[in-house]
Amino acid sequence: MDWRVNCWLLFAMVTGAANDLLFHSKAPYGLLRHCYQDWPVVLRAVIELVPLLASLLWVRSVARWIRGMDELHRRITLEAWLFAAIATLSVLSIWPLLDGAGVSAAILQATNVHLEALDKPNFPLTLGILWLFYFLGHSIYNRRYQ
């Protein structure tokens, strides 16, 4: 993994997770949840948009990285990204169904972590799923051209 390409992804995931943890989770995690709603709307909007802006910068660095590639690797990478995007959309689409079936509650119970943010898809979780499917897709498509 190239950190020069993925540093903005890490930043987006960390800030997104921090936002969920500090401002949206219940006690004992949501340390600032009680006062967050009293803050100015502009400040809250900026806080919520930081992960999105970081992920856009990540997309820019990924695009530059892909442009500099050898043509076969560019093809493998684009196929892997397409796979990751479709797989992530599929997972996010069936997430409410899994949640309704009690899967997420079972995971939370098994891990003994009671973060509300994990009850539904959120920004860092979505990026994490995308990243995971990218590496899966890359290993599949890379093997095809070995």
Partner: protein, 66 residues
């Protein structure tokens, strides 16, 4: 698409890495073209043709009959 890249490279006694360096691509790309798992882009096919001083259609051919 069929190609004669492996024969042409062998005739010059170049390794896949040597050819990859001359063409500015990875060794994996050369291997994928030689094993016919990957069809090169037109610019790369022209570059290969120029390097071996042969017309593109002499190096690459499809299975279609004229």
């Amino acid at each position: 698409m069929k190609n004669k890249l492996r024969e042409l490279r062998a005739a010059k006694e170049w390794s896949q890495s040597d050819l990859a360096d001359k063409l500015g691509v990875s060794r994996q790309t050369i291997n994928a073209i030689e094993t016919e798992r990957y069809d090169p882009s037109l610019p790369l096919a022209l570059k290969i043709a120029r390097l071996f001083k042969q017309p593109v259609e002499d190096i690459f051919s499809d299975n279609e009959k004229p």
